[in-house]
């Protein structure tokens, strides 16, 4: 249930503005890859190109190739809706559907895929909530609204919702930035467990977090305001944080800028 991502020559635009330029990288299956870099360097934009969410913004477009195993997500015959079923996403702010119960939130993706059988849904909901380390806390109130949970629980609910459809890849866009340290720790532990099953890509502003959870780290930077963001280097996390090969990475990690 995990696939390799191969990106080559990828640029993304918002209207006439180029947000990221010529990015190429490989993300290994069953690993955690962290994207770090200063604000506005295009890490989130790049992340959103990996499940074709970038293009839902009016005027946004993408050039280049993203191969999931050997299939180009941007080939003309590929349906973006199908891509998003294969590549799941967790957002910066927890966004459970406020009009749905905890159960319905987790089952939402399955229902979209046309699965209606109660016994199947029950099993998947339980397994997904267990997978997101939320089952113990909510098993007694599955029919209560998802919006009534705490922020950290909501985010784990969103993770349960994302993994319920068994994606190949899980993208996380600063999943802990709206959470307190305890909830952050819970999510980080969860990421460690989830990487056994999924290919995980996480954007984070927190360098300690990148160092804690990821196997590989990619550093993004931009030459200046209005310039497109670029990938500076991608290496094993340990190497990035101890002995990066590019000076700019070291400057950023040691806090000399950004």
């Amino acid at each position: 249930m995990a696939k390799r991502i191969d990106v080559s020559g990828l640029s993304a635009y918002y209207g006439a503005t180029k947000a990221i330029e010529d990015i190429s990288m490989t993300v290994e299956p069953r690993s955690v890859t962290a994207f770090i870099g200063p604000s506005g360097c295009g890490k989130s934009t790049f992340l959103r190109t990996l499940n074709r969410m970038h293009e839902v913004i009016p005027g946004a477009r993408v050039e280049g190739k993203v191969l999931l195993d050997d299939e180009n997500l941007y080939a003309s015959n590929v349906d973006p809706v199908a891509v998003r079923r294969t590549v799941g996403m967790v957002f910066q702010r927890p966004n459970p559907f406020p009009t749905m119960s905890i159960y319905d939130n987790v089952a939402a993706g399955l229902k979209l895929a046309g699965i209606r059988k109660k016994s199947v849904l029950d099993g998947v909901v339980e397994n997904s909530l267990k997978g997101a380390n939320l089952w113990k806390e909510v098993s007694g109130r599955l029919n209560k609204p998802g919006a009534g949970l705490s922020g950290g629980q909501q985010q784990r609910l969103c993770i349960a919702r994302a993994i319920a459809v068994e994606p190949q890849v899980l993208l996380m866009d600063e999943p802990c930035s709206a959470l307190d340290p305890i909830s952050t720790l819970a999510i980080e532990d969860l990421i460690g467990e989830l990487k056994e099953r999924f290919t995980i890509v996480i954007v984070t502003h927190n360098m300690q977090q990148a160092a804690r959870v990821s196997d590989r780290t990619a550093f993004f930077n931009l030459a200046g305001v209005g310039q497109p963001g670029k990938l500076v280097e991608l290496d094993d996390t340990q190497r990035i944080f101890s002995n990066p090969s590019v000076q700019a990475t070291e400057d950023y990690i040691s806090g000399r800028f950004g």
């Binding site: 009016p58 809706v81 009009t99």
Partner: protein
């Protein structure tokens, strides 16, 4: 209708030049409190005055009524020998024409609102939205004239078609073929057109309020655009659409001039909606007021009170529906 008392500790504390922490009078706060609380109280007083007036005059009328007010068809309050009047026809006509209007207008309004908020490119959506707002500003008398001069003659064909093919439904059978389509069905269509803009405009604003993050959550799960709307937009907008529909229904129930022009007034209560004739509360008041004597005016007042109560009940029901699902409203998200 509650005016909350201002938090006395709220607001910015201005210190006196001497640096003392003793509060000054905060005249602005107090002035604003008096103004807002006063407006609230004034509104209550006006409402109470209207209700009291209606109740008093209705009481006079009802004490003179020689027949059952609720089941009588005819309207003859100024008959000195036997004043008799009832609201059966009016209640039926008002509710039926209002229901037809809602059934036709609400789905169409939701579709137009979704088109403007989620489907149309911005270049088209903007002028389109403006056009809808403009429709809401057309005076009802203009709608009425259009209804009488255009809709009634042009619906004759539809009426006979429905009689032929849908006559088996009983409600779409007509007993007098060829009569002008001045019936409850036509009235309902006209009311639907009249309330369409307001329902569309409010629904559109509600759909626009749906947080982008909810829409993206649905899209990221692999929802198509329509599935995204069904998963994230419609449930979030539900209370707002209900409120919008109630605004529209309120207008349909109370619509006067357009109905007075289009619907031929009669004391007939017919379940055949394509039969000419019938009546609504507002139409009846508009038509009868000028020639009504003192007793007649009181009787009209009583019918107005009933319309008032029906409107209150409808609104109360809508509020109940919204409140029942309050914890799912998304307001706390």
């Amino acid at each position: 209708m509650t005016s909350s008392t201002p938090d006395s500790s709220g607001g910015r504390t201005t210190t006196t030049p001497t640096g003392s922490l003793q509060g000054n009078s905060r005249r602005g706060d107090r002035l604003f409190f008096v103004a807002s609380a006063g407006s609230g109280i004034l509104l209550l007083v006006i409402m109470a005055a209207i209700a009291g007036f209606l109740l008093y005059r209705s009481g006079i009328a009802l004490s003179k009524d020689q027949t059952n007010f609720f089941t009588t068809f005819e309207w003859d309050p100024d008959n000195i020998l036997k004043p008799s009047f009832g609201i059966a026809v009016l209640t039926f006509g008002t509710i039926v024409s209002g229901c037809i209007a809602m059934v036709l207008a609400v789905p169409l309004a939701i579709a137009i609102a979704l088109f403007i908020s989620h489907y149309a490119p911005r270049k088209i959506a903007q002028p389109f939205a403006y056009l809808v707002d403009l429709l809401a500003a057309v005076p009802s008398i203009v709608y009425g004239l259009w209804g009488a001069l255009f809709l009634v003659p042009h619906l004759a064909g539809l009426t006979s078609w429905m009689n032929t093919y849908l006559g088996w439904t009983y409600i779409f059978r007509t007993t007098h073929q060829g009569a002008p389509a001045r019936n409850l069905f036509t009235t309902g269509i006209l009311l639907a057109i009249m309330i369409l803009p307001i329902i569309t405009a409010v629904s559109r604003e509600v759909f626009r309020q749906v947080p982008r993050s909810h829409e993206e959550a649905a899209l990221a799960l692999g929802a198509t655009r329509w599935e995204m709307i069904r998963t994230a937009v419609l449930p979030f907008g539900r209370p707002g659409v209900i409120s919008a529909s109630m605004l529209g229904l309120g207008r349909a129930l109370g619509e006067t001039m357009a109905v007075a022009i289009v619907l031929s007034s009669s004391n007939v209560l017919s379940l055949h909606l394509l039969d000419a004739g019938g009546g609504t509360f507002a139409q009846n008041i508009a038509l009868k007021y000028s020639e009504a004597g003192p007793a007649g005016k009181d009787a009209l007042m009583a019918s107005g009170l009933v319309l008032f109560v029906i409107t209150l009940l409808v609104n109360g029901g809508a509020r109940l529906i919204i409140a029942r699902r309050k914890e799912y409203s998304g307001a706390n998200a």
